[in-house]
C-alpha cells in the first residue's frame, strides 16, 4: 500500500468522473434548444444507473476472475472489494480501483448518447443502457483488462481504446442506424457552442485522469502517458483545423474542440506504449481522420450519427488501435510490445483482431439489445414529440425561459 498512489488515484477518479457531466454539456450545446435537457439526461442517467449496477454486479462481471470471455460473480455486491489492495494494484485499495473503473463504465454509456440525440425515448435508453453495460461493456472490459482472451493473445490497450471508445462508437452507430434520421437533421445547428466548448474542456481535463490514471501510479510510464496525452490533443486540434481549413476555408471553434477530442481518443490505447513524437503523429492523423470521417463518410453512407460519437470515438479509437500496432515500443514501456515500426508485425495483427472482434461483437449484441428493448418500449419518440422537442414532451421542462 502506498498512500501517495491512493491520493493520485483519488485525483484520477475525480478527473474521469467529471468527464461525464462534461459529455452532457458538450452534447447539450450541440443539439437544438428544445432537446438540450433530454440530451443531458441521456448522458447524466448513467451516473445514477450504471454506478449502482457497477457496484451490484458490473464490476464483478468485468474484473473478477472468470472465464476468458466474462468475469465471475465473486465480487457481486462488492463482496471482497474493500480496502485491501486487489489483484490489479498492490499499492491502492481495491475499492479505489473499483471506483476508478466505475467512472469508465459510466462514461462509456454516456458517450453513446451522442448518436441517438433528439429522437430516442428516455425510457428506452435507460433499459438499453443497463443491458448494454452488462452484456457489452462488462465482457469487452473483461477481454482486455480482466484477463480475458484479448489480453491472453497479447493485445495491448492502455487506457481503453477498445473498451471505451470503439465499443461506444460502434454501439452509437448501430443505434443511430436503427433509429433512423432525425426529421429535421438537415436543419439543426448547435444551439449553444459556448456550452459545447465548456463541456469539451471538462472532457479534456478529465482525460488526463483517464490516461495517466490508467497507470495506477505516477511512475515513468505514467509521466510518458502524461506528455503523450498533452501533445496528442494539441496535434489533434491542428490536424483537424488544417484539413477543415483546406476544405472549407474556415477553421471553426467546434472543429478545434472536436480535434482535441479526436487526438485524445486516438492516443488513448497507445499512450502508455509510444514516444511523444509518435504521439504527435497519432494526434495529427487522428484529428484529420475524424474530420474526414464526419465530413465525408457520414454524408456518403447517410446515417444520422447526430453528434458524431461514432465519427470521433469509433474512428478515432480504431485509428488509435492501429497506431498502437504501428508505433508501440518497449523502449518506453517494458510491459508493452514493439509495433510494426519497431520491427514486429504481430502486434498490428493482434490490434486488428481486437478491433474487428470488438466491432463485430459490439455491433451484434447492441443490435440484439436494442431489439429486445424495443419489445418493451418503442426506441423512438413519435413525430409530434420529436417536433415539439424532447425536453417538453418527455421531461416537461424547457431549458431556457425568457420574460414571456
Amino acid at each position: 500500500m502506498q498512500l501517495a498512489d491512493s491520493v493520485f488515484m483519488f485525483v484520477a477518479t475525480m478527473l474521469v468522473w467529471l468527464m461525464t457531466p462534461g459529455i452532457a454539456l458538450f452534447y447539450g450545446g450541440m443539439v437544438r434548444s428544445k432537446n438540450v435537457l433530454s440530451t443531458a439526461m441521456h448522458s447524466y442517467m448513467p451516473m445514477a444507473v450504471i454506478s449502482l449496477l457497477w457496484v451490484v454486479i458490473g464490476y464483478s462481471l468485468a474484473f473478477s476472475p472468470g472465464n476468458t470471455f466474462i468475469g465471475g460473480l465473486d465480487w457481486v455486491g462488492l463482496k471482497g472489494v474493500g480496502f485491501e489492495p486487489g489483484p490489479y494494484s498492490d499499492t491502492i485499495p481495491h475499492s479505489l480501483f473499483m471506483l476508478f473503473q466505475m467512472t469508465f463504465a459510466v462514461l462509456t454509456v454516456s458517450i453513446i448518447a451522442g448518436g441517438i440525440a433528439e429522437r430516442m425515448k428516455f425510457s428506452a435508453f435507460l433499459i438499453f443502457s443497463i443491458l448494454w453495460s452488462l452484456f457489452v461493456y462488462a465482457p469487452v472490459a473483461h477481454w482486455v483488462w480482466g484477463g480475458g482472451w484479448l489480453h491472453a493473445i497479447g493485445t495491448i490497450d492502455f487506457a481503453g481504446g477498445n473498451v471505451v471508445h470503439i465499443s461506444s462508437g460502434v454501439a452509437d452507430l448501430v443505434l443511430a442506424i436503427m433509429l433512423g434520421k432525425r426529421k429535421e437533421s438537415a436543419n439543426s445547428s448547435p444551439h449553444n457552442l459556448p456550452l459545447t466548448f465548456l463541456g469539451a474542456s471538462l472532457i479534456w481535463f478529465g482525460w488526463y485522469g483517464f490516461n495517466v490514471g490508467s497507470a495506477l501510479t505516477l511512475d515513468e510510464v505514467a509521466m510518458n502517458v502524461f506528455v503523450n496525452t498533452v501533445v496528442a490533443a494539441a496535434a489533434g486540434i491542428i490536424g483537424w483545423l488544417v484539413v477543415e481549413n483546406m476544405i472549407n476555408k474556415k477553421p471553426t471553434m467546434l472543429g478545434a474542440v472536436s480535434g482535441a477530442l479526436a487526438g485524445l481518443v486516438a492516443i488513448t490505447p497507445a499512450c502508455g506504449f509510444v514516444t511523444p513524437s509518435a504521439s504527435i503523429i497519432i494526434g495529427l492523423i487522428g484529428g484529420a481522420l475524424c474530420f474526414w470521417a464526419i465530413f465525408s463518410l457520414k454524408s456518403k453512407l447517410g446515417y444520422d450519427d447526430a453528434l458524431d460519437a461514432f465519427g470521433l470515438h469509433g474512428i478515432g479509437g480504431t485509428w488509435g488501435g492501429v497506431a498502437t500496432g504501428l508505433f508501440a515500443t518497449t523502449s518506453v514501456n517494458a510491459g508493452g510490445a514493439d509495433g510494426l515500426f519497431y520491427g514486429d508485425a504481430s502486434l498490428l495483427w493482434k490490434s486488428l483482431v481486437a478491433i474487428i472482434a470488438t466491432y463485430i461483437f459490439v455491433a451484434v449484441v447492441t443490435f440484439i439489445i436494442a431489439k429486445i428493448t424495443s419489445m418493451f418500449v418503442p426506441l423512438r419518440v413519435n413525430e409530434e414529440d420529436e417536433s415539439v422537442g424532447l425536453d417538453i414532451s418527455l421531461h416537461g421542462e424547457k431549458a431556457y425561459h425568457e420574460s414571456i
Partner: protein, 120 residues
C-alpha cells in the same frame, strides 16, 4: 400598374426557412423579415413541471414572416405559402394581410414600388 402596397404576415411553426425563401423568391418577393414569436390559439397547451410544481403553458414557439409586396400579387404569396406550409393539422397558422401607405428605401430614398423593386 397601380401602386398598391400590401403587407403579409404569416404566423406559423418554425420551419426550414431557406427552402421557403427560395419558393418566395421564385414568384418575385424581394425581401422578407422574420422573427420569433409565441402563439396561442385552440391547440392545447403543455405542462411544464419544476420541482413538482406544474405550470400550464399554452404558448407555442411560432415564427412570424413579414413580406411587403407591390408588384407581386398577394394571392401568389398566399398560394405559395399554403402549398408549402399546409399540413392540415391545427397549428399551421394564419396569414394576415394589411394595406400599406408607403415604403421608403433608406439608402436611396426611393418610395413605393421603386423602393421594393431592388436592382437585381
Amino acid at each position: 400598374m397601380s401602386e398598391i402596397l400590401t403587407k403579409i404576415d404569416i404566423i406559423t411553426r418554425p420551419i426550414n426557412f431557406e427552402k421557403f425563401k427560395a419558393e418566395l423568391a421564385k414568384i418575385g418577393v424581394s425581401g422578407i423579415t422574420v422573427s420569433d414569436v409565441k402563439g396561442t390559439s385552440l391547440q392545447k397547451g403543455y405542462i411544464e413541471t419544476y420541482r413538482g410544481v406544474n405550470r400550464e403553458n399554452s404558448l407555442h414557439d411560432r415564427i412570424k414572416i413579414e413580406i411587403v409586396v407591390c408588384e407581386v400579387p398577394v394571392q401568389d404569396v398566399v398560394d405559395v405559402t399554403r402549398k408549402f406550409l399546409s399540413t392540415g393539422k391545427p397549428g399551421d397558422g394564419k396569414i394576415f394581410i394589411y394595406e400599406l401607405a408607403n415604403v421608403v428605401k433608406i439608402s436611396t430614398g426611393a418610395e413605393g414600388y421603386d423602393a421594393l423593386k431592388d436592382e437585381k
